[in-house]
Amino acid sequence: MVSDVSNRLKLNVGGEIFETTSSTIQSTCPDSLLAALSSTPTSHGSNPIFIDRDPEIFSVILNLLRTKRLSSAVFSKQELLDEALYYGVESLLRSAMSPPPLQAFDASLTSTITPATDGVPSAFTATAGDASLWIAHGGMISVYDWSLSHAVTVRTHLADVTSICRVWDEAAAIGSGSASGLHFYDLSSGRYLGSTHWTDPEDPRIHKSRVAAVTDSPRGVFASFDCLHRENSVLQIDKSTLQVTAVIGQQSGSSAKNSVPEKLRWVPDNGLLIGSAVQRGVFGCSGYIRIWDPRSRDIVWETSEPGSGRSSRFGDALADVDVDVEESVIYKVCSKSGDLGVADLRKLGEDPWVYVSDENPGAWSADEGGRSRGYSVVHCYRKQVVAARGGSLEVWSSVEGKGSGGLVRRRNFVDKGEDCKRGVISRVEAGGDRLFVSRECMEGVEVWESSNASSVISVV
């Protein structure tokens, strides 16, 4: 704005004179280099402060301070990051560069992150907190920061990593499908921290157990282990000592009802652990959802499908399950109809499911063919449920509606018809207002974002 003289500030950056106000600088980044310069007593004289940096990129940084927006300039992301780091305005750049709040129904594919070597991701995890992405590929773990720039790659001793979970800010718990034990790595230093194995001195059958799923909680890490002898259980592991503190739900067998949980979720609200497993066969899906109380190690609630009685829809067993921990809701997606089953975690009973369907034709009626029958992935993020079947990606979003009891859920395709030809979606996860998708045998992790900028394509 129009401002008084005393507030004005002259800068000579690489020979070019810039004039701004100290309030512009102080209000946005009080701890930055610029703020420190502007508060020195000599700064308000007639002699401009000299900064030996590139003036053109500085004008972008200065406009960022003035408008809180990143003017779309010719500079690369890395150049801007480096320069913002130099001037100490990285937090401002981050908020200007981050995507707008994810509206999954309007997301579009913005980029694909492909690690340099062994680019097929075997597992990945995204975090909402600092919006970083950890990709496990070919025994390595690559870390990508909030701007999706490659931060570091750590080589682990494992031949392949099939499950990965973030246990501290910089530490990962990883499991492998080809080697036993749960292993901990500090990714910032690349240091191996230790391993935990499931052994039982009284039971010789329990050895060489491999990790199927991992999840983190304030009470420790929960990991499901599966032995070669078909014994399986969920272990609670102390994060500081890496010792097993509890064995939960040990069972043996390989049938649908007692196979190892391949998905674990921790619900902070009530301290419950939810595990699920789905087997996909020629005759459709079968599986279970089981909820444990880790304190008593008891099963609080369980359901298996196809089950008896009215608890399941005939021939329409669950295909995948996810938990919205903020809303305390379990979502399951039905293998045949594609309908969404919703169950309130606080009111679980014999048949807690409320089924929602949408007449809008979704992937489930599309011509996916027999190849991908029953193969589906569901993930929820900020009240939106993303479901994938075969190569198609769709989202269930709730709309404020009148009439049918408040909430209406609408199913929309996120992707285009040609997107699903890239391959079967193996994993979907969201974090930092981005949706990450990996496909079987395909290199890289797709990044989907919603955007306020339209991608105008010129045809002249």
């Binding site: 704005m1 004179i17 004039e19 105008v456």
Partner: protein, 455 residues
């Protein structure tokens, strides 16, 4: 600071923008309007603005000349928009880029396409109410809105599984309806698609729900054509545009009898004719006995029907009215030809065929799915994958003054947009200096404009 001294009576003012000195006149600055930051600057004693000088130079150029400088291509239009908003001169930027007076019907080319996310192709499109060339697109249960620069968009989710009628009634407020979902919803775009209210047909029994067939507006009224769920009655409801309170209904048709002569055809197009204070209401319907339809003109103040055209023979597949040409245009469903009738002599001559009026069998369906819209002094009619542009040629040779000109009014046709392999056109809309085209099974919007005036 050491700004160049200027004589008190001088009109020349110097402005320091981010360290660079600009000189201009007070007149130029006051052009920007009294509310803008720039005209305030003209009265200030120290003129310093802590903004980017490069962007300011472009905006000053626009203020001086009304045109966008060629060097502006090195800036992103989004930055220019943000900057023009800061200075309060966005209307100048809009004017220099997308002014309806720059619409050049004979020089339209496909300049950009706007991709839509997801797999639904557009069901209906509506230009922004300010005429600046923005667009709202309904696709599936979503509505995506593009601003006048077409560079910024936002998407909201609706209750509808597909939107069939869409109209912006005031900036950022949409009226949306569907033929398979009851009620006309007033959607607040600035509030993330919040449904402000749902308008219903008040006069039917509360047990039945009615669906929206068409929506239209004048400067005072909002019109909505409703059909009852049993499809045996329909009506046009009139609401106050600002309060959205129902005022009255008109054009009501009921058919409770069995197999009566006229089936009840709901109106699927509502057009306000400002110069005559009339509402044009039209609808057509295909039945085994052929296509029949109606075009009615209502005087909203007296609530009287002024004129009605009943269509039985070559019924229309679409109708439009052009105020500039003072004529109603239709495209015949059987012949596929464009007809007009003069607004100034309603009921006088009936339809005059503009195309080749051959004897055609009424079994033909050449005009099915054709759309007709008017913009400026032109009428656009989509046929298959192409567009016919009809424009009036003023010759001065009125009537039979010359052997060459037999018609009373001379309309001539140009065809374009029919590239082979293109899909059938499903929608046409106009705003600013642009024509928007949607095609069957395509998840994007084509933007046609004159190449010298593109964004």
């Amino acid at each position: 600071m050491n700004l160049p001294a200027s004589a008190p009576e001088s009109n020349v003012v110097s402005i320091n923008v981010g360290g660079r000195i600009f000189q201009t006149t007070k007149q130029t600055l006051t052009l920007a309007g009294t509310d803008s930051l720039l005209s305030q600057l003209a009265t200030e004693s120290t003129r310093f603005v802590d903004r980017d000088p490069g962007l300011f130079s472009v905006l000053l150029y626009i203020l001086r000349t009304g045109n966008l400088p060629a060097r502006s291509t090195s800036f992103d239009i989004r930055d220019l928009i943000e900057e023009s908003r800061y200075y309060g001169i966005e209307p100048f930027l809009i004017d220099s880029l997308s002014n309806p007076s720059q619409f050049e019907a004979f020089d339209l080319r496909k300049s950009v396409i706007l991709p839509l996310n997801g797999r639904d192709s557009p069901s209906t499109i509506a230009p922004t109410s300010n005429g600046g060339g923005g667009l709202h697109v309904a696709h599936g249960s979503k509505i995506t809105s593009f601003d006048w620069s077409l560079r910024r968009k936002s998407t909201v989710l609706t209750n509808f599984s597909a939107v069939d009628s869409l109209l912006e009634i005031s900036p950022g407020v949409l009226a949306a309806g569907a033929t398979d979902f009851p009620g006309l919803q007033i959607i607040d775009l600035d509030n993330g698609g919040f449904v402000r209210t749902t308008l219903n047909w008040e006069n039917v029994a509360t047990t039945t729900t009615s669906t929206v067939q068409a929506v239209g507006s004048s400067s005072e009224f909002l019109f909505a054509s409703f059909e009852s769920s049993r499809r045996n009655s329909n009506s046009v409801m009139v609401y106050d545009l600002s309060t959205l309170l129902p005022l009255f209904e008109m054009d009501r048709c009921d058919n409770y009898g069995v197999g009566g002569g006229d089936s009840v055809i709901p109106s699927n197009k509502l057009r306000w004719i400002r110069s005559c204070n009339l509402l044009m209401v039209s609808g057509s319907h295909a039945s085994p006995s052929g296509v029949s339809g109606h075009v009615r003109f209502w005087d909203v103040r007296s609530r009287d029907m002024v004129w009605e055209i009943k269509e039985r023979g070559d019924c229309f597949s679409d109708v439009t009215v052009s105020e500039n040409l003072s004529a109603v245009f239709k495209v015949g469903v059987a012949s596929g030809e464009v007809y007009y009738t003069d607004l100034r002599s309603l009921g006088g001559k009936g339809w005059v065929c503009l195309g080749e009026e051959k004897k055609r069998s009424l079994d033909e369906r050449k005009g099915v799915g054709c759309r007709i819209e008017s913009y400026g002094n032109h009428v656009f009619c989509s046929k298959g994958n192409g567009i016919e542009l009809w424009s009036e040629v003023i010759t001065g040779l009125v009537g039979n003054a010359s052997r060459d000109v037999l018609e009373e009014r001379v309309f001539r046709k140009n065809s374009f947009a029919a590239d082979s392999g293109e899909n059938k056109i499903t929608g046409l809309a106009f705003g600013g200096n642009r024509m928007f085209v949607t095609r069957k099974d395509q998840q994007f919007i084509e933007v046609w404009q004159s190449p010298s005036r593109g964004v």
